[in-house]
């Protein structure tokens, strides 16, 4: 009985499963309600769900008109964002997909422009007029490599091979390469782009952890907070080569159970974490001494800490971040002790939003985690607060490590403009 009830629990896994069979509108509603009910909550899960949903949306769209595609994605995106405005990764993924579509459309337009210049027809507004089947794919491809280098680093790796061959042998490549002829549509390109985003989401932690050895030296004492998979992988990677000590603050009311199980390596009963991460070795198995402390002891220990490594919920364009509640005092305490604060985060968490109203970014959680039912008499009389997130200003962060490398907080705006198009920032 428990196993069946767990399998039925709505979440990322059940959503992805249902995505294949359900109607597209059902799926959208489904994701909206999951987001609203916070049944999908971690940044990566939200991002993955959004990406898969948009993949479905695009493939279900029976149009190849870029404008219509953009409108469709925008309307879906708006609903998703409205469902959970504080889950900023949803908006980020939507923006990236919109960017993909626009790039494709521009490429097509360029192609058209080339064609019309060549003198065939003047149909600048209709994006695809594949008069010359061989010409279109090659120019489009040129454009797409330029485009993908902006959207994702690893399209750099995946794309280059076809490029040289195609222009060289245009006639042979066009039929075999991609959906040929009139049905060549930007949808296929966009879907490919979305798949790249999904791949990126899957690999981002490993890419980030590749930088671990650049930042952790031997015998270091590292303090971290809650159980972020990214941070754990980062530390694990370093643990393979170096000996150091990790102090983990448990982040009590909201995430302490996950932290405890991450730390002790005992299996979590949380279905969401029962993915690949739960098969990961805990740090202690790598011979790393792990010290678990209550959140209150952070200041007392900070004088011994060499480095603070934090995960985050999302990163804002000004270099500030929204992270699990309690992060701010930790960063502050580190600042006071002149201890460097390193934030590890995938680029997908980087949001083009400039925060003006910090309060609006903060989500408040279940007060019963703070005052349990056994203290029910108190609940009537006092106002119990359980914020889930903290806004950490940029000046408290010394370094960001993303899958693109290490950046100063002041450089983030540049990465934002690389990843999102201006017209999509407020879609």
């Amino acid at each position: 009985m428990p196993s069946t009830s767990l399998a039925l629990t709505p979440g990322l896994a059940s959503f992805l499963k249902s995505l294949k069979t359900n109607q597209i509108d059902t799926s959208i509603d489904n994701l909206i309600s999951l987001l609203k009910r916070r049944q999908i909550r971690h940044s990566r899960s939200c991002a993955t769900a959004t990406a898969y949903l948009l993949l479905r949306v695009i493939s279900a769209c029976r149009t190849t008109d870029a404008v219509k595609l953009i409108e469709r994605v925008q309307s879906v995106g708006r609903r998703l964002v409205a469902a959970q405005p504080r889950e900023m990764v949803v908006g980020n993924i939507v923006r990236r997909v919109l960017g993909l579509i626009r790039d494709e459309a521009e490429d097509d337009r360029e192609a058209d422009f080339n064609l019309s210049e060549a003198g065939s027809e003047s149909q600048p507004q209709t994006p695809r007029v594949p008069d010359d089947a061989s010409d279109v794919p090659s120019t489009r491809l040129d454009g797409s490599t330029a485009r993908t280098s902006l959207t994702s680093m690893f399209s750099l790796l995946s794309h280059p091979e076809p490029e040289p061959s195609l222009p060289g042998t245009p006639s042979s490549a066009s039929p075999s390469g991609r959906v040929p002829g009139p049905s060549k549509d930007i949808r296929a390109e966009v879907m490919e782009g979305i798949n790249e985003i999904i791949d990126e989401l899957g690999q981002v932690d490993d890419q980030i952890s590749a930088y671990a050895l650049d930042h952790i030296h031997s015998n270091e004492i590292i303090l971290t907070h809650t159980s972020s998979t990214t941070v754990q992988k980062f530390l694990l990677k370093a643990a393979a080569k170096r000996r150091f000590t990790v102090i983990i603050a448990e982040s009590f009311p909201n995430n302490h159970e996950a932290t405890h199980s991450t730390v002790s390596g005992a299996s979590a009963n949380d279905e969401e974490t029962l993915s690949t991460e739960s098969f990961q070795k805990p740090l202690i198995a790598m011979g790393i001494t792990v010290i678990l402390i209550p959140d209150s002891a952070v200041f007392a220990l900070m004088s011994r800490v060499n480095k603070v490594i934090l995960g985050t919920h999302s990163v804002l364009a000004n270099g500030g971040l929204v992270a699990a509640a309690g992060t701010r005092v930790i960063a502050r305490a580190a600042k006071v002790h002149q201890t460097p604060v390193v934030v590890v985060s995938g680029v997908y968490k980087l949001s083009p939003v400039y925060p003006f109203d910090f309060e609006s970014l903060i989500e408040y959680g279940d007060a019963s985690k703070v005052i349990g039912y056994e203290d029910g008499d108190l609940v009537d009389q006092i106002d119990v607060q359980n914020p889930l997130y903290d806004y950490v200003p940029a000046e408290l962060v010394d370094l960001y490590i993303t899958n693109l490398g290490g950046h100063a907080p002041s450089y983030l705006y540049r990465i934002v403009s690389d990843h999102y198009r201006k017209e999509d920032i407020h879609f």
Partner: protein, 564 residues
């Protein structure tokens, strides 16, 4: 402290006979000013025993002196052999997991301790008479000193110890020395019952907080003094101090003494020492009790009122007061400000694992204050609209730093580093009895480590309330109603209810904490600190009964108040 002689004397005495011989002995050794000990002193604190262990040979030597009186070298030899046997036994007992042999309880402990004490150079006085009883009467009795301390019932002591050490956070290695006592077993028999009880209450945080512990200690000592009878041949002013120090040693094994306790004890000892030996015992005891009462009154009760009164004046209408954990003095301050009709809001920040703020929240809410409650994760939110921060203190160090419940420093820091720019004044409420001449730079050198098991997650709510979980209850209700409809016997629905309530629980709620086995998990350490040190620059004002001061004035006030 006085008699260096007694190890020799002591060893000669056999345990059962100890009472009578002790007196004889006193008369025999009159040259020594030291107090001859009443037999009740014989059970000595276990602590000595422990230290005595490495000193086998030394122990043996003093023992030799004793026997000559009774018999010859032969007896000496026998005593030596006995002692060796006893020690071996003791060792093996300890290794066996420290479960005290039933007989070994207080009596065995006492005698053993005595033996140890005899050999101990550092505290010769304690061991004296006890040494006699131990050496003579003990036939290889296991003396479990602190059963729970190191060994929690597992096989090899050495292994156990090594394991325990692995669980100690290296930086804090120096603080793990004192394991908290688990039971009263092994406490010296001169420890007064009131003190025994107090020790356990302090250990369990039933009596918690610097002032409360100080008052409780003094009250218990008052009872000790009332029950005290000066043994023959000594004077109250000389012997009572020794007697009290047993109580103090016991208390400090339950939980390290607070600064305020230390200050109070110092004052009390001073008062005892200043009593004229010619004063009759009853008068002297009366004077001491009077002293204790007035100390409590002046240094704590009235001081609290004065502090609360003047701190309450700092509160204005519309203030938002942030406080951390549950200081009794802050509570008093807030309540008295509330009584004066001021309208303000209180935001309490609390932390694991003690949740002292809950009680504060409860009593403030009962008094009708507007209370907001959050945990450490909510600091930066709570501090955002704060206008003042009130903090309690465990102690104020001479370099102006605040030594208080762990987490205080984070609150004070947040108040000073608010992103908005305006700093929030941080006001510390503290009686001068908590001032100390010690200095502290960080929270590592001086601190207290509590039992890390406290951090292992608490019971799920269901276990506390004993209620079935809602789903099960609903299922039961459904079953019940259906059965009612069908007019079935009421018994049929019962089994399904049980089944359903049992089944989902293990899966959903009763999953044991992942930390349950942390002691057996290599490389995993839990750290449960009690205090931290807040830098002086985060503290704007210390409100004491002698006025409101900057933290830099702490050493001056401390000197004034102690020299008075």
């Amino acid at each position: 402290m006085t008699n260096p002689v007694d190890p020799a004397l002591a060893s000669s005495l056999s345990a059962p006979a100890s009472e009578v011989p002790a007196q004889q002995r006193q008369s025999e050794a009159p040259s020594n000013p030291s107090q001859p000990q009443p037999s009740k002193e014989s059970g000595k604190p276990k602590k000595e025993k422990k230290e005595a262990k490495p000193k086998d040979t030394k122990d043996a030597t003093p023992a030799t002196d004793g026997p000559e009186k009774l018999t010859g070298a032969e007896l000496k030899k026998r005593a030596k052999a006995e002692k060796a046997a006893r020690r071996a036994k003791e060792k093996s007992d300890r290794e066996a997991g420290g479960a005290p042999a039933p007989a070994g309880g207080p009596a065995g402990g006492g005698s053993g301790a005595g033996a140890g004490g005899a050999g101990q150079p550092a505290t010769p006085k304690k061991g004296q008479p006890a040494g006699g009883s131990g050496a003579g009467g003990d036939k290889g009795r296991g003396l479990p000193r602190r059963p729970s301390g190191q060994a929690s019932g597992q096989p090899s002591a050495a292994e156990q110890k090594k394991k325990a050490e692995e669980k100690n956070v290296a930086v804090f290695g120096h603080l793990y020395g004192q394991q908290r006592r688990a039971t009263v077993a092994g406490a010296g028999k001169e420890v007064h019952p009131a003190v025994l009880a107090l020790g356990l209450q302090m250990r369990d945080y039933v009596i918690c907080g610097s002032s409360a512990r100080c008052v409780a200690t003094l009250l218990a000592f008052k009872r000790v003094i009332e029950a005290y009878a000066t043994p023959l041949g000594t004077s109250l002013s000389r012997h009572l101090t020794t007697h009290l120090s047993h109580q103090i040693t016991y208390l400090s094994t339950c939980r390290p003494l607070s600064i305020s306790q230390g200050n109070a004890i110092r004052a009390l000892k001073l008062a005892i020492a200043s009593i004229d030996p010619s004063v009759p015992e009853a008068d002297a005891k009366g004077t001491l009790c009077e002293f204790i009462d007035s100390f409590i009154r002046e240094k704590i009760t009235v001081a609290d009122q004065v502090v609360a009164g003047s701190a309450a004046q700092k509160i204005q209408d519309g203030d938002v007061i942030v406080t951390f954990a549950g200081s009794s003095l802050v509570k008093q301050t807030l309540l008295s400000a509330h009584k004066q009709g001021k309208k303000f809001r209180v935001s309490i920040i609390d932390s694991r694992p003690l949740f002292e703020g809950k009680n504060l929240a409860r009593s403030l809410a009962k008094a009708g204050l507007d209370v907001q409650y959050s945990l450490m994760n909510g600091i930066s939110h709570a501090i955002k609209d704060a206008t003042k921060v009130f903090l309690g203190a465990h102690a104020m160090t001479s370099n102006g730093r605040l030594y208080s419940r762990v987490g205080t420093a984070l609150v004070a820091m947040s108040a000073k580093e608010r992103a908005g720019g305006v700093e929030v004044p941080v006001i510390v409420c503290c009686e001068t009895v908590k001032f100390t001449d010690r200095v502290a730079l960080d929270s590592i050198v001086v601190n207290e480590i509590a039992d890390a098991d406290e951090m292992v997650t608490t019971q799920p709510p269901q276990q506390v309330t004993g209620l079935p979980d809602p789903a099960a209850a609903a299922a039961a209700a459904a079953a019940e109603s259906s059965s009612d409809n069908k007019k079935k016997a009421s018994k049929t629905p019962v089994p399904p209810t049980n089944a359903s309530s049992l089944e989902p629980n293990p899966a959903l709620k009763h999953a044991p904490s992942p930390l349950k086995d942390w002691r057996d998990t290599p490389n995993l350490q839990l750290l449960n600190l009690m205090y931290d040190v807040t830098p002086a620059e985060y503290v704007d004002m210390v409100v004491t009964e002698m006025g409101s001061l900057p933290p830099s004035a702490v050493p001056i006030v401390h000197r004034m108040s102690t020299s008075l």
